[in-house]
Every structure is written in C-alpha cells, then in structure tokens.
C-alpha cells in the first residue's frame, strides 16, 4: 500500500529511459565512430581526425563544392523558406481568423486538403514549373548567392519547400490568432489604429510564441529536407547541393562506403539541429500544445 504511489513514477521513468537510451546509444556510437579508424561496437580501435577531413578539403576532388559552400546553401534555403512561410502564414492566418470575405470557408478547407496531400505526387508537375521559371530572365537563374528561383537553384528549392509548408503554417497561425480576444482588436481600432497597425502592433506581439514555434519548425523541416532538394537540383555534385544530399555522396560511390566518414558528416549536419532544439524546446512544445487548441 505504501509502495504504490511510488510505483507509477518509476514505471513512467522506465518507459521514458529505455527508448531514449536506445536513441542516445545510437548517437554515442555515431560520435565514437566519427573519430575512429574502425570500431567494434562502442569500442574504438584507434582514434583519428581523418573522417572529419571533409571540413578542410574536398574528398571528391577540386571541382566539387566545398562543405562550407554547401552549408551556406542549406542555411540560405532554410532561412528563405522560414522567412517566407512565417510572413505569409502570419498575414494569411490573420485574414482567415479575423476577416470576412467571399471564399473564406473554401480557402480554409483547401489549405487543409493541401496539407494532407502527399507531396510526392506533385514532384513531376513542379519540375516543369521550375523549368519554366528558369526561362524567366534574371529571376530564373540570375540572382547572386541563390542562383535564382528556377530549376537547380537554391531559391527554386526554397520556393517549392515554401509551397509545401504553407498550408501547415497557415493553419497553425490561424489557431494562434483565433485565441486572441476580439475586444483587444476592437479596442485598438477604437483607439485609432488602422487594420494593419492592429495586426502589427497589437496582435503580432501577442503571438510571438506562435511565430517562434513556426519559425523553428519550418527551419528544421528545411534543414533536414531530402526529397525536394534531391528532385530539384541537378545531382549531388551540382552547385546548389545541400547538406542532406552531400551525405549521399559517401554512401553511393562505387567504392566501399566509408561509414566513419558518413558518421562525421551526419553529425555535422546534426549540430545546428541539436543547438536549435536546446534553445527552442519551449517554442516547439507550444506549437503542439497551444497551436492545436484553436487550429484544427
């Protein structure tokens, strides 16, 4: 009888500790492997920095973009997508939550359907759209840094990512706007604010957690994206390659796979994600805890 209250937390911890230690063990293995010549289980058979040499020299010859170029590509792609998704979702979400206009209901259900739509089925049509954008002068492939917004450019990939992320973003943001009291908005209008000022000065500051959550979520989605960059860049050696594709180079070369190097590159891609998670845990919890309430 006395023991019973203690049993429950113990069970809960057990349920948490066992799976997480399995995952953590995986990461530990990754870490050890990346600094070893060979390993036997978790035991290193000799320490080396050789696997991390991709940081200072290109393992695939001088014609291949450096890891830093690739990291920059990935960062740019993720940032562009995050900024566009957050800005567009905030405005659209506000309009959907607060304004009456013809087609509002159908727009809402359309976003929901789009969110549920399997993106794979759209890859080929989008390919043709991107090819078409490529032909537009300047925007197609003349933008410095991004290449442009057409096929095989960082901007183009970001654009497609935005399209797939927007329905989710709009729904999440609409949920946050729905939770803001009407009175506050009315009060601001009566105080003499324009609709835009109400949105920018009164509503947006009050849904900062929502903005933070959506930013983090979008950034991580872009950072880890594989399928879309793979489809819309010309191969793994192109100028617009991103980190997730770079990793592939090590696996599918005709030579034997260097698992130790794969581990190192994988860890490298992981670092920003872990750092991000450490600082933004709370915001992320918000998107599932707070956003859902009014969202779906």
């Amino acid at each position: 009888m006395i023991v019973r209250p203690k049993v429950k937390p113990v069970l809960a911890y057990l349920a948490l500790v066992v799976p997480s230690s399995l995952v953590l063990l995986g990461f530990l293995w990754l870490l050890i492997t990346s600094f070893s010549t060979r390993t036997e289980g978790l035991k290193s058979l000799g320490w080396t920095l050789h696997n991390w040499r991709f940081l200072w020299e290109s393992p695939f010859g001088p014609g291949y973009p450096s890891i830093w170029q690739i990291t920059l590509n990935t960062l740019l792609m993720s940032l562009i997508m995050t900024v566009i998704v957050v800005v567009v979702s905030s405005m659209t979400g506000y309009a959907l939550a607060r304004m009456k206009f013809p087609g509002r209901k159908s727009f809402l259900s359309l976003t929901l359907i789009l969110h549920a739509f399997p993106s794979v089925t759209l890859l080929i049509p989008i390919y043709f759209v991107l090819l078409w954008i490529t032909k537009i002068p300047l925007i197609g492939r003349g933008v410095p840094l991004l290449g442009g917004f057409g096929y095989n450019t960082v901007g183009g990939v970001a654009l497609v990512m935005v399209a797939f992320q927007l329905p989710f973003g709009i729904w999440i943001m609409k949920g946050f706007f729905d939770n803001i009291s009407w009175d506050m908005e009315r009060s601001a209008l009566i105080d003499g604010a324009s609709r835009f000022k109400v949105w920018w000065q009164i509503i947006m500051p009050n849904i900062r957690p929502g903005v933070a959550a959506l930013s983090v979520f979008s950034f991580l989605t872009a950072w880890n994206a594989y399928l879309i960059p793979l489809t819309f860049t010309a191969g793994r050696a192109g100028k617009s390659v991103v980190l997730s594709l770079y990793l592939q180079n090590f696996i599918s070369e005709s030579v034997m796979t260097e698992w130790n190097a794969v581990a190192a590159v994988g860890l490298f891609q992981l670092i920003p994600v872990v750092v991000f998670f450490l600082f933004t845990q709370e915001a992320l919890l918000n998107i599932y805890g707070g956003g859902r309430k009014g969202g779906a």
């Binding site: 009291s181 009175d183 506050m184 009315r186 009060s187 601001a188 209008l189 009566i190 105080d191 003499g192 604010a193 324009s194 000022k197 009164i202 500051p205 009050n206």
Partner: protein
C-alpha cells in the same frame, strides 16, 4: 455630443440582434442600456463605435450621419468588460497608445497620460504590465485609456461585472462622478438594473433586440410601460396576479377568487381610457405589500418562505396556488405555515393588458414602444 439613433437594425444572418431601435441621447447625458443577456446591448454599442456596420437605419453624432465613418474617425473612448488591455505594453504604453496613433507630441503625451493616470489613481503604476495589476487596477487603466484622448463620446460595455461586489460599488460611484465632472456623453451597457438605476439619467431597456422603454430611473420604476420592464426593474421583482377589471357604480374594482380591491378612481379611469380588457395583469411591488391586522387586510395568505435581507425580510406568501412576495420590516413576526392578512398599496398598483403586455395606465401616447 448629441447622439440620434433612428430605425437602427443589425442582422447576423437570420438573427435580428437589434431591431428598429430609436434613441436620442442628449449632449452630456449618461444613458444606460439595460437588458438581459443576448438582447443586443453590445451590438448596439459596437455600432456606435463603428466596429459593426448597421444593416439599416442611421446613427447621428450631432447633426452628422456617421454610419460610414471608421472607429478612428468617430473620436470615441470605449471600456470593455474584459478591459482589453494590451498585455505586451506597460500601463503607460497602454494609456498613451491612442495619443501615439494621433501623433501627439511626446511632451504633451507624457503630460496628458500622467494627468489622466493621476485622476484615475494609477499614477504610480505606469511602468507595470497588465499582468502585474489587480482587476480593479486594470479597470482603471482601461478607463484612463478611454479618457486620455478626450473623446466626444464614452462607451462602457459592462465594465464592472468582473469586479467583486465591494469594488463594483466603489467604481460605480467613481465613474458616475467622473462622467459628471467631464460632461462627456456616455452610453453604459449593463444587465444589472441597480447599476443602471444608480448611474444613469435615463435608461433604455431592451429585450430581444427591441427597445422596451426609455426614461428616467424613477419613471421606469413608478410607471413601467410593459410587463417586461416592470419585472426587470426593481429587486426583488414585482408581483404579478391575473385579475378581473370591473367598473361599478361606486368605482373601479380588481377581483379574483381570493381577493377584491378597489383602486383609485384616476387609475381606473385611465385604464378605461386605454381600453382595458376584462382580464388584466395586476402588478404590485413587494414593498407595496404589507402585513396588517386582520380587519385592515385585503386578503389572507399563508407564509411559505422567509428570506432575511438584513434591514428587511422578504416573505413569500401563498394563497390559491398563487404566490406573492412582501418586503416587511425585520424582524418578521410570523412562522412558516401561519396565515396572515395582507394589504396592497392601491396607489401603486400597476395594470397591464395580458395580450400585449403593455401598461393600461399610460397617459396619452407617451413612452410605449
């Protein structure tokens, strides 16, 4: 600023939230909009504020029709039930927000915010956020924010209903004094009839979006136009009994199985002039029902419930499956089940047509809707 509302309607889909409302509010007047929940009070206020567009009808400020003006162009201040403070701003920023939007010069702004805050007794709280204020303090900030831009019209939407009873009483007085000293035309929405009676110079009673009556507190209390108004104004509410109306040679009588009373001639004549039907609803306020010695009584009834209110006791009597409540001086000398004699104050008897629910004691055609 004088407000004139004519034939104002607001539809939400099929719901008629406000139905053909006509109201005139004099410059500097304090008018209360009173009515039960969902009767269209807030909707009316938001149309005055410019948040809702009227479906039809007109609103004039002064002589100008302002239907099409945005809230910004109307120069009004509004206090919400939820206070609607901006949680991310300090008290100072909250109060100064209307001035900032008007691009008032910084020095002038500081001066006016401080003056308004001092007047509301929150001068010390200017750098706190709303979350760090008590409900009463938040309320004061909301009032200060509405006042700071020196509006032509003040709108209040149940501003006191989130406060505890004691604070409500105090704020009631403060708002009334403030309004009197500033002389700003004010519309005050409430569902609390005591609040409306004590604060307003005139009360507009609404029900189901329709204006029931509009008049001074005493007028509504002493001469209610409809059964609804009679029952809504005054606590504890008026007693209603269905009775026969009879004119005899020596005067006018009201009768039922248990009692018969003679009513004053001028009341009877007035009722007759208003085409009083055979059956009427008689209304008598609990304070007009008294317990008397047997020979003075109009009828007898059994004590059913005794509710002490402190200064007075509210006693419910039963007779003939009817109920009547009386306010008697405390302590009440009687016991449950005891039969006692009751007397009605005939000078204060109200009569209503049971079909139309309208008073048959109206003189001329004044007041009715």
């Amino acid at each position: 600023m004088k407000i004139t509302i004519k034939a104002l309607c607001k539809l939400f889909g099929k719901v008629k939230a406000v139905d053909n409302l006509a109201l005139e509010i004099r410059d500097g007047e304090f008018v209360a909009l009173l009515g039960p929940s969902g009767c269209g009070k807030t909707t009316t206020l938001l149309m005055l504020a410019g948040i809702y567009k009227p479906s039809s009808g007109s609103i004039r400020f002064g002589e100008k029709v302002i239907n099409h003006l945005t809230p910004k162009e109307r120069n009004i201040g509004m206090v919400f039930q939820s206070y609607a403070l901006y949680p991310h701003m300090t008290t100072f920023d909250n109060i100064s927000y209307p001035l900032k939007l008007k691009k008032v010069h910084k020095k002038e702004m500081m001066k006016r915010v401080q003056a308004t805050a001092d007047m509301m007794g929150i001068g010390e709280l200017l750098d706190r956020k709303p979350a760090e204020l008590s409900g009463g303090q938040q309320q004061r900030v909301a009032v200060a924010r509405a006042l700071v831009k020196e509006p032509a019209i003040l709108l209040f939407d149940e501003p006191l209903s989130n406060l505890d009873a004691k604070l409500r009483l105090r704020m009631r007085g403060e708002i009334k004094r403030l309004q009197e000293s500033l002389g700003v035309t004010s519309v005050y929405v409430t569902h609390d009839q005591v609040e409306a009676m004590t604060m307003a110079s005139r009360i507009a009673v609404m029900n189901f979006g329709v204006l029931q009556t509009y008049g001074s507190p005493n007028q509504l209390y002493d001469h209610p136009d409809t059964v609804f108004v009679a029952g809504f104004i005054g606590a504890p509410p008026m007693n209603f009994l269905e009775m026969r109306f009879e004119e005899r040679d020596d005067g006018f009588y009201l009768g039922s199985q248990a009692l018969e009373i003679r009513i004053p001639d001028e009341r009877g004549a007035q009722a007759k002039q208003n085409d009083v039907p055979q059956r009427v609803i008689m209304g008598s306020r609990p304070e007009d029902v008294s317990v008397v010695a047997e020979r003075d009584g109009d009828f007898k009834a059994e004590v059913y419930l005794i509710e002490p209110l402190g200064r007075e006791d509210l006693v419910t009597f039963r007779f003939d499956s009817e109920e009547i409540r009386a306010l008697t001086p405390a302590p009440f000398h009687g016991q449950i089940g005891e039969t006692m004699s009751l007397k009605l104050d005939k000078e204060k008897v109200h009569l209503f047509n049971p079909e139309t629910k309208v008073s048959v004691l109206r003189s001329g055609n004044g007041g009715s809707s």
